[in-house]
Amino acid sequence: MQIDTLELSEKLGLYGCIQCGKCAGGCPVSMKTTLDVRYLIYETLTGYLPDPTHMEELWDCTCCFTCVERCPKDVKPAELIIGLRSLLVENGTIPKAVTDALQGIFRQGNPLGFAREQRAAWADGLDIKAAQEGCDLLYFVGCTPAYDLRVQPIPRALAKTFQAAGLNFGTLGIEESCCGNEVRRVGEQGLFEMLVEEGKPLIESTGAKRMVTTSPHCMNTFKKEYGLSGVEVMHYTQLVAQLIADKKLEFSKKVEKKVTYHDPCFLGKQNHIFDEPRAILQSIPGVKFLEMDRSRERSLCCEGGGGRMWVEGTNMEERLAFQRVHEAADTGAEVLAVACPFCLLTLEDAVKVQKLDDRLRVMDIMELVNLAL
């Protein structure tokens, strides 16, 4: 396929690139696959870009945005990858798993292939208000938390916590649709714009002043790409940490566990929320908190973002999640706490494959909170 590399270079501001290599040097997959975003920029600038149809490695990018965070010249390297994926989407040459996920979102509002009518099933028996009737706090559940059986306990724990704290909150129920964070990142700009067009008025119509999400991925796009007015978007760790600080949430049980924490890229690197998750863990009675060497801004991506929850990518033998769970186990922790549904699934899988399940358990922070309530 033909690509107008001049147009792409200008549109994405690639001319500012000084080829320092800080992007590729920090790219979590750059040592295990052939993806070299620094070189891609240069190939685009010089018109030497090969046909991206054959670049399997374009699907290796997890959109962790380490490159964007560290680029000293405000070039956004990952946006080039997203831009090239967009061209592949237009061209119809994308992996089948991505097509399936996008079709699921288009038809049912979720990438997992479940029916829209089942979206609120996770909340059975919880008696949660419909946000459409008006509420102070809108809880945006997200697709994976709503449907995935492993993840469902997290929204349940959150809802119960909000109820216990006496918050006037609601959800969009079966009207909630995919936020589109990954949709934009796999390059389906058109579908993303449609989701924003439909989702933005729905969210704003609830009159909620605050909106909290289960997933850092949802939070990221609502915060940065929706242009919501009058709604403060936050991740649940921010809200729960605040509830604990305000003594609206008090623990009654001890959780005698050694716990380490993995910073999700969309929460930490991209939104600089590092302290709140740690504050929650450290406030749980009995928890002994241990830090991994690579933490906060230097956290290692689990490889479950940017569409990578749907598509495998090249070189699946050396999964970063494998390395990550060993780093966690090496701290002596019994629990690897996370605050993102994708990190949870990716790392839990890695714990099993690496046969660490007798030593290490992956748990969402809310699962630990729930144990202590």
């Binding site: 000084i18 040097g25 920090g26 040592m31 560290r70 060497d293 690579r294 230097r298």
Partner: protein
């Protein structure tokens, strides 16, 4: 002798820029007040071991000038002092200087150091001159060649000054053979009339914690360039031995451009000195540790000055490996640090294991540059440094008539450029002084 008093100049800051400017003006026969905030003159240059590209020992070329300003009959050296107010205009400035109490009588102290040896806090106070790598007493001189060689009681560290009590007797007082310790000393305000002012207040280095990916503050073997300088210095905390974490490193990795040329840190400019001091540091490693593996990661090497490219060539030939790629991250593996970078020539991301990482941190305006600018009524350029009246044609003049700027407060520069600018500022000041003398003001 003329009956009329000659107009005087004020020089603020006694680093190499202020020292040079003061010496030139005094040599021309005009009186100079040289005001320095620290207890000694010397500034940043006194912290350096060798200087690029000639490898002159910094102390050897600086100390004679320090001694000269201390002895020049026309230079009134006011150390441990700060300018607190500036009024008036070119030709007739009225300046207030606060002389901080040293709690040591300047006329009596002989600089023997018995007080420091006796001090209860000896070896317990962080030594800022050594970039925190060593410890000193609560009464101290910054370094052995200090001018004036007079001890100062650190008011933030002295037990008596912080808590009101220091045992039954003052150990320093008991130890002093000349009775110089004086806790009764008070802050003094001195009023000066000067015709012109030179501002030479120097620079700071960026706190590398602003680039958390490099692990500074987390790993004791990640150092700044200035810390590494102190390790190399024979007068430093290790007596010039490169010892990190208790041992001599087998590998050293240097990282260029830490915080410079970086939109995230707000330092868009090139700091100009880092390429060369890193080359110098690499040379010093080779000199002191012949077997060490030395790697410098860079994005561009800017060796623009006289003799600089030649020095860079020489250092590379001394088995120093320059690899092109700005490292993205430093982390730990076992007892080694790992520097992760794309080697852009290899088109491969590499992990380089090392014992020490040295960060070439950005030159930034002094942390109080805004206050100093406000005090003196100067403008600053968008980068935070003092602004010139015209960047090309009036580079020495500040935005306030009669006030000139010299050295790194105007922007990052190396020693040759600093000295040249200081001499230019002195020349401009002498024009002002001569006119002032002629007009009889």
């Amino acid at each position: 002798m003329e009956s009329r008093k000659k107009p005087a100049a004020l020089v603020i800051g006694a680093g190499i820029a202020g020292i040079q400017a003061a010496l030139d003006i005094a040599s021309a026969g005009f009186p100079v007040y040289l005001v320095e905030r620290e207890p000694s003159v010397g500034g940043r240059m006194s912290q350096l071991d060798k200087t690029f590209p000639t490898l002159d020992c910094s102390a050897c070329i600086l100390t004679p000038k320090m001694v000269d300003v201390g002895q020049h009959p026309l230079i009134n050296l006011m150390t441990y002092s700060e300018v607190t107010a500036v009024e008036g205009e070119a030709g007739a400035f009225h300046v207030t200087v606060k002389k901080k109490p040293r709690y040591v009588d300047e006329d009596k102290c002989r600089g023997c150091g018995d007080c420091a040896t006796a001090c209860r806090m000896t070896g317990r106070i962080v030594d800022t001159f050594n970039q925190g790598l060593g410890k000193r007493a609560a009464v101290y001189v910054s370094f052995p060649q200090a001018v004036p060689l007079i001890y100062t009681v650190d008011p933030t560290a002295c037990l008596y000054l912080t808590r009101g009590v220091c045992g039954k007797t003052f150990k320093c007082k008991d130890a002093c053979p000349s009775g110089a310790i004086n806790f009764e000393q008070k802050e003094q305000l001195v009023e000066l009339d000067v015709a012109t002012i030179i501002v030479a207040t120097g620079f700071d280095l960026m706190d590398p914690r602003k680039k958390p990916e490099f692990g500074y503050g987390m790993y004791p073997n990640v150092l700044t360039g200035l810390e590494f300088e102190r390790l190399c210095s024979a007068a430093g905390p290790t007596g010039g031995k490169i010892i990190v974490n208790g041992k001599e490193p087998k590998q050293v990795v240097f990282i260029h451009c830490v915080g410079s040329r970086d939109s995230h840190t707000g330092v868009a400019y090139c700091s100009r000195i880092c390429c060369m001091y890193t080359a110098k540091h690499a040379h010093l490693v080779r000199d002191k540790l012949p077997e060490a593996q030395v790697t410098a990661f860079y994005m561009d090497v800017r060796a623009f000055g006289k003799g600089y490219e030649e020095f860079y060539d020489r250092v590379k030939q001394e088995r120093v490996l320059y690899r092109r790629g700005e490292p993205s991250e430093v982390y730990k593996r076992g007892d080694k640090l790992v520097v992760r970078a794309e080697d852009t020539f290899l088109r491969k991301t590499v992990e380089v294991e090392t014992d020490v990482v040295v960060l070439a941190t950005a030159v930034v305006p002094r942390s109080d540059a805004a206050e100093v600018a406000a005090l003196l009524g100067l403008e600053r350029s968008p980068d935070g440094f003092m602004k010139e009246a015209h960047p090309k044609m009036r580079p020495i003049e500040s935005t306030r008539p009669g006030v000139f700027i010299a050295g790194c407060n105007q922007g990052p520069k190396d020693i040759p450029d600093t000295v040249a600018q200081a001499k230019a500022a002195a020349s401009s000041a002498m024009v002002a002084l001569t006119r002032s003398a002629a007009s009889g003001k």
